[in-house]
């Protein structure tokens, strides 16, 4: 994710500093930035901090950043556990720093347009919502280590769980099923999360990490009392090419093809920058990032226990 975020910061003219324990020279080179030799050096050089480390490191990095008086943009999911997420919120509040989870899907113009229509009441009351996302199984091993990433549900489906909440509000009950196929040697897993919102609306979120070569795709279908909205990234691309010159080079399938619309990572970076500079509210609050984590954890628990999980007003489940 660091490269997508770095490209966005570069595009809006930020001066970039990088730190990674394993070295960040290559990334720093690619984006004309400076490699720092320590976190302390990074915090000394940079005014804002963007955490793109694996999920289990979010808490400690956020702690040191806010202690260094830096505002923090943190890759989703906000944290691996609700406890860690709460600690992050408390630390940010104690140091009066901004903590913004990078739920970049809120900045994809398709989702933003749909959300605006829903907010404006043009669809009436939300009734039945579906969200889907497919991508190739991430190559970096920590993603497929449940202890580290929380797996498909916490890492990928958290996007669509957040969308469901953004569109249809808080959730009362979470049910989920998951299938990790070990068959035929191919890596493929899928999970379905069904949310019953407090309003009575129901949402279906379908995630998928497929075998190498799986194209990234995403979309939604939203039905309300006054109308429906539908989007599928595989349609209405604005550009289709047919060539006899052999197959086109394959994309890695882990990141979406941003095609011909405004780069959402850039819009996200600008929103964070503005919030950090002016105190405005960013599109996603830390509380909303924590709530999405809590719902994803409820879904993981539902899979393990084969039952529907009730969620209280604070997002907790027992």
């Amino acid at each position: 994710m660091a490269r997508a975020h770095a490209a966005a910061w570069e595009a809006i003219g930020a001066e970039l500093y990088f730190y990674a324990p394993s070295g960040s020279a290559a990334v720093a080179d690619d984006f004309g930035g400076t490699e720092c030799s320590s976190l302390a050096a990074l915090y000394a050089a940079a005014e804002l901090v963007d955490i793109c480390a694996p999920t289990p490191h979010h808490l400690n990095l956020a702690r040191s950043a806010v202690e260094a008086h830096r505002h923090v943009l943190c890759e989703k999911p906000l944290s691996r556990s609700a406890t860690e997420g709460r600690q992050m919120l408390a630390l940010a509040a104690a140091h009066r720093r901004l903590l913004m989870p990078a739920h970049v899907v809120r900045y994809f113009p398709q989702y933003a347009a749909a959300h605006q229509a829903v907010e404006d009441g043009r669809l009436g009351a939300m009734a039945v919502l579906r969200f889907h996302r497919s991508g190739a199984t991430p190559q970096r091993p920590w993603f497929t280590d449940d202890n580290a990433s929380g797996g498909l549900i916490l890492d990928q489906l958290v996007h669509d769980i957040d969308q469901a909440v953004w569109m249809a509000g808080p959730v009362a009950t979470v049910y989920a099923s998951e299938n990790r196929s070990e068959r035929s040697g191919a890596q493929a897993q899928t999970a379905h999360v069904i949310l019953t919102h407090r309003s009575g609306a129901v949402s279906h979120c379908r995630g998928h990490w497929g075998a190498e070569g799986t194209a990234f795709s995403f979309g939604f279908d939203i039905a309300g009392t006054l109308g429906t909205l539908t989007y599928d990234s595989r349609k209405n691309t604005g550009f289709e090419m047919s060539t006899t010159r052999g197959a086109s080079p394959t994309e890695d399938g882990f990141m979406p093809d941003l095609g011909y619309f405004t780069n959402p990572y850039e819009v996200q970076a600008r929103d964070f920058l503005q919030a950090a500079q002016t105190g405005s509210s960013p599109r996603t609050s830390a509380e909303e990032g924590l709530y999405a984590v809590q719902l994803a954890l409820a879904a993981i628990r539902s899979v393990a226990e084969h039952r529907a999980i009730d969620v209280d007003d604070e997002g907790d489940h027992s």
């Binding site: 191919a186 899928t190 999970a191 379905h192 279906h204 039905a223």
Partner: protein
């Protein structure tokens, strides 16, 4: 083997598919038909039923089932309200007629099982009318899966979304006659397609979340209008069915059906109603929607008639119809109790 002309009786015009079956039968040229719709007498005014409906579709007509059975049909097609399928199918079986029954086979597991048993005891064939089985896209999907083109199936998402079906037949939203709401009306098509693709795997766990947000202002609607049904199968495959009357009243078409199958080495999306020419219509704000897909009633009827002539089991069978009803019953139980239901634990009434 049955040679010569077959006599096929149509029982009831409650389900508007009756007209499709009549024209599919008439187009064959090797069957004689006779229809009866005794329920016409008590049907809501304004709904075209009985002799008038028969005349519109070119079907010879008698007023009662007694007259229909006196004609000694080789087969009957049951198109009555869902709750009447059992009594009508049993009457047909008792009269020695093979039975093609409109979906859902019944409104309860007990009734569906009774229909299957009655046909077995009478020694007649039983087929459930799931027309989506006969779409060429589904056949292509099945063939691709059989050939291993997308590896092993791991998950599926099906959608069957339609307008609130109150236009020509108000019984569709009547609890008693329909047996429920959107869950009953719309789940079975996808459930049957999944059954066909995943056999011999069987459902193990069913969860459903439903609501009545859409059309809540319509006092005639007392059941769920929106629903999501999640099924876990015995091999771990997971599937969700969106069974909602979520197609707005003003939409250009009644609705549609889609099915996405995800495998270990790829995925397939089918959208049988995608075959259409669209455009802007100065006379209609919804625009042109010129569907050109084949009429699925024709291969469905052909399967029924051919199976009778060959003396073999038609597909989808009565058992397939029963399995779909079992999923609906488990989903209804889950929605009522707000908990996942282990398959086989669903009440069989």
């Amino acid at each position: 083997m049955t040679t010569g002309r077959l006599k096929v009786g149509i029982m009831s015009f409650a389900h508007p598919h009756a007209g499709n079956y009549i024209s599919a039968l008439l187009s064959r040229g090797d069957v004689d038909i006779l229809a009866s719709d005794p329920g016409a007498a008590t049907a809501p005014s304004g709904e075209i039923r009985g002799a008038e409906y028969a005349a519109q579709h070119g079907a010879p007509y008698v007023d009662s089932y007694e007259e229909l059975f006196r004609w000694q049909p080789d087969a009957v097609i049951v198109c009555s309200e869902n709750a009447h399928h059992r009594v009508d199918a049993e009457a047909g079986a008792r009269a020695g007629a093979h039975v093609l029954c409109e979906k859902p086979l019944a409104t309860t597991v007990a009734d569906a099982r009774a229909i299957v048993d009655a046909c077995e005891e009478a020694g007649v064939l039983l087929m459930t009318a799931f027309p989506m089985r006969f779409t060429p896209m589904f056949e292509a999907a099945r063939a691709a899966i059989r050939d291993g083109r997308i590896g092993e199936i791991v998950g599926a998402t099906g959608t069957n979304n339609g307008k609130l079906p109150v236009g020509g037949r108000s019984w569709f939203v009547d609890s008693e006659l329909a047996g429920g709401g959107a869950l009953v009306d719309l789940t079975v098509h996808i459930a049957d397609l999944l059954d066909a693709v995943l056999a011999p795997e069987v459902p193990e766990l069913v969860y459903a979340a439903t609501n009545r947000i859409l059309h809540s202002e319509n006092s005639a609607v007392t059941n769920e209008t929106g629903g999501l049904v999640n099924v876990t199968y015995s091999d771990g495959t997971i599937a969700t069915i969106d069974c909602s009357w979520s197609q707005p009243d003003s939409a250009a078409s009644w609705g549609g059906l889609t099915l996405q199958l995800i495998g270990t080495e790829g995925s397939i999306d089918i959208d049988p109603f995608a075959l259409r020419v669209e455009g802007v219509d100065e006379a209609n704000a919804n625009g042109f929607w010129l569907g050109y897909g084949a009429n699925n009633s024709v291969p469905l009827i052909n399967e029924f008639i051919t199976a009778i002539r060959d003396g073999r089991q038609p597909e989808p069978s009565g058992q397939a119809g029963l399995r779909a009803v079992e999923i609906v019953a488990a989903a209804q139980e889950s929605a009522a109790t707000r908990s996942a239901v282990s398959f086989g634990e669903a009440p069989s009434d």
